[in-house]
Symmetry: D2
């Protein structure tokens, strides 16, 4: 039985993490922290947990957490994990960070996009990008996991075989993503009011979304080429879910849907959480909602020699807390699906 | 005072048309027809019209309609307008057809995409594609208007200046469109049940949507090149509205957002219903909902030399009934905005 | 042509008011004020107004408003209208106040429910409760209108004939109301975030909603009895609309649906904006959405001798800005429906 | 390990049942039947099940089901369970019927409300109404469970202590219920199209909903008085969830919220799935969504001497499939919470 603590547990990813971990048979939750809610019972902040657990929000206390935890999840806002991760690693705790703080290896790049000084460059090097389908072996041995962004997960999984097999022109990639409103977290911004988001659909951060450097870093690394993407995310009137449509120019005009499909099968046939859909069918948010699955459908457009790959995940599960638990399972040598299926 | 009839008035576009025309000061509605609802009062089928009008659905009767109408709107399913338009034109009525039956000049192409025999090829030639921002002069003199499809409207208006000025590689065009559920009309299909569409988002007709030939026909005609597009439409959990994101490779690497913006201004500054948004701002469905506006925002991605143009319309207004009334206003020499603003 | 100003125009009711008044042929808007948005163009705050008007938000300036206005609408938060109304009345302006500040005749009651000191008790007396179906004659001669609350409008119109004709036990009234989220205005409260309100439904202010004293005051006045109601409002996952279900014990066991229906007909047959639905049919929010109508359906339950009356309005139109314009039309001797149908 | 079959598994309750049972450690699913989908893999009909199970829909085959099942769930339309339940009971199978076919003891009443002839009156007598909080002891020994209706569950649990303790006037009960659209099942009816149900809210079956006799039967039985209720259900724009507001006249004017609360505590303190909320707080659909909980909040209105009890459940879980599994757990002597928490 592994002991778990969650630092910053009062946001959406924290809540989702608690839900998943309460159903996981090989772990128990020792501490959940929240600066704003400390002292309150979880069930008073989130009444859905009534009769399910007696957890109480505490202030962050390094000593207590070190004493009672084997694994610590950080579900803090960007910038807030850096030092805490440093402290916990010193005490030999496994750390899974759900923020962006350890995703970008180039600290200058991180500081440019997140406007935060990176004070732990030495442990930045050790951090493993927690996308199990690409980096399972490294995750097994990791001390610190940088859990991927939600858009990044949906986009990298969809592009990986194309990139790895060198099938597309590297700068032709267009990514048109759509996310439910929970992607924004609990921010009190008028854009996320019901009255703004409902019956609305809109692009935002056009060409400037913060997941861009993380995606380009992984694609560059895997393709051995300098990848730049055209990325437009959109806000969709639903709670959960992401669909990413990816368009790219095929190098070889003789490529067709069947051939690409076989390549994707090679990559994903053994993956429990990536579901390659039958040719001619495509993902829908409803089918992945509240699960750790990433569904992928694809097609080659013969008229324009473009390939279209469409993926869908639940941003709060495979795009955040579910993937974090998948990483924990790998690190702890548990069945990778434990608590997730 | 012009007399109007609407043939096939019980669907969504018919209902929207009635609403707009009841507020139009220079027309009156003589007849509304519906085979399934004939004999019923409009207010009994759509209780929202109670206290607003005493219209009653009738069966289609050529003689009556000819007698009492100057202009006839056809809001029938695809395939059903062909012969009726033929009859009405013989009686010198102005006809505005909201179906696809007269949009595609190549009848073989029409028959391939719509699986219907085209029996009025002679009048197909006369039909004017009713997109006022491109074809206002022809519309003025038209007898028969082929009112554009909703996706087609949002896409052609967004691409027109790029195409006309020869700024992009013609086969690099990617169109990622999102539509509210009303785009599907009143079809009793399980895909359109609340329980299917709500909290869901999904692509459909990937690379095979019926508006494709209509869009490619106009773009080909205006660019004087054979245009093929990569087009993926999506179903969005909202009632009304379309957002189309268009991506294309710029021919000239020195193009930037400001230059493209100026070109768009040249095209649209005088257009009442196309609103070019300030640089750095983008359309949102909420801003065009229930209006005849088409909002457009654009940006050049310097890293990939792609231009992104994003447009938004209300599919039931500028994408159907509002545009039909705009066409009527032009044909009748009314103020083009009458009843629409 | 009457000149209009709107004080506090950046909220939902202000926006709705501008929309209605831009389509009203006998008025023009001189000033719109907003402390937080002063200096901004309306179209920059609400891009939906682009190409429709050049209005700019200004700070409130009594002199300017007095100079350029015949009628002034106050769409301010509760408590903020009191002194401004006083100033404007001194300058002989007609004032229509959309807040609660002049609805409750008993200033002690007002202060208890709204936690605001009432400093204009003398003009409180003059204020006319702006429910045209009950008080049209008084409205004609009014200087100051207290525009009713949204719930109050839906409840009083539904109960009025029962109360006036003394048909029910006065303390048996149960009101179960449901409102869309726009009822809360633009408040940045986590309860109104998309992620809280979507796919949720909940009661709030159980037995303690601020519209209670206003409703009880009118019912008491019209019944000549001291009326207390049991009132539970609910938040519904939609933008606009209210449905109020009202249950009461009939005094006479021989009453039936037909008899009650005839009484309601007597009261409402001539009313343009109250639509009594055919027996066996009931209101739905979709049918009144974006209109100034109040739909009413009713039934007598023979098994329990209770009458059920169900009403529906659009909270932003008949529940706020539409009713304010209806009041203006009456005060100005315009056609009561002008701009509203 | 108990073997399970589900007859009529392609509807919403069938799908929900499969989901719950796949996560239940002490059962395995042998057969799922569907006349319309027989021969199809579950994952092809509901792609969300891909990678989770290899179940295939079969035609109903008594012999096979008898051979491979200990317990059979019937998730058929009303009227279709009667004979199948009869066959299965003859073969000594435990049967849990999710339809209304065995809920109403008076077969004449059943036939009147459901327009179906009841051909198994002898087993109707044996059927136990599967509301564990009231009838746990009978359920333990039952062969045939009539699983309660969704509205009935939310209403009976909310009223039970009041009725049992004889606290209210028996014919003063008003029930105003609100349900998400999934309550209607997969019916292809225009009322349940996204375009009809979205941004709409409406009453239906006013005073005539089919759950009425089932509710009145249980209340009558428990109160030993002839109970008639005033019941108005409503359709709410959300997928899942019911809120029932119940109003009744208290017999004793000295009753207050605290006293009633203590009585409810006595009834429900030991119940795992009924959560009595702290005084001053009320249920919200979000808190019970996808769970087997029934949340209850209550208040006494001193001004009118009425008690208001508000309950909320997920209609597909505690209102259908979750409660069915709770019943199975009791019948099989499993932990009552197994698979449900």
């Amino acid at each position: 039985m592994k002991k778990i603590s969650i630092v910053g547990a009062s946001g959406y990813t924290g809540k989702e993490l608690i839900k998943i971990l309460l159903n996981h048979h090989l772990v128990s939750i020792s501490h959940i922290t929240s600066e704003s809610n400390s002292g309150s019972k979880l069930e008073d902040v989130h009444p859905e947990f009534r009769n399910m657990t007696n957890l109480v929000f505490e202030k962050y206390n390094l000593e207590k957490i070190v004493k009672d935890s084997d694994i610590v999840f950080l579900a803090l806002p960007h910038g807030k994990s850096i030092d805490i991760a440093g402290q916990l690693l010193k005490h030999k705790k496994m750390v899974i960070d759900l923020s962006a703080d350890f995703r970008i290896k180039d600290s200058v790049m991180y500081e440019k996009w997140y406007k935060v000084k990176h004070t732990q460059k030495n442990i930045l090097e050790k951090a493993v990008y927690g996308l199990p389908e690409l980096y399972r072996d490294k995750i097994k041995k990791a001390e610190l996991i940088a859990n991927p962004g939600c858009y990044a997960t949906s986009i990298i999984l969809a592009l990986y075989p194309l990139i790895k097999e060198n099938l597309i022109n590297i700068n032709s990639i267009v990514v048109d993503s759509k996310s439910g409103v929970s992607g924004a977290g609990k921010k009190l911004d008028s854009m996320y009011l019901y009255n703004s988001a409902n019956e609305n659909f809109l692009p935002y951060s056009v060409g400037s979304h913060r997941h861009t450097p993380e995606i380009e870093q992984i694609l560059t690394q895997e393709s051995k080429n300098n990848v730049s993407i055209t990325f437009v995310p959109h806000l969709t009137p639903m709670y959960r879910g992401i669909v990413s449509d990816i368009y790219a120019d095929l190098k070889d005009k003789k490529m067709d849907t069947e051939k690409i499909y076989k390549i994707y099968q090679k990559y994903y046939i053994k993956e429990k959480f990536v579901r390659l859909l039958p040719i001619g069918t495509y993902p829908a948010v409803k089918n992945v909602c509240c699960t750790n699955f990433c569904d992928i459908g694809l097609s080659v457009m013969k008229n324009t020699n473009k390939v279209v790959v469409i993926s869908s995940i639940d941003n709060l599960v495979k795009g955040a807390s579910g993937q974090a638990v998948q990483n924990m399972n790998i690190m702890c040598n548990f069945d990778e699906k434990m608590g997730l299926l």
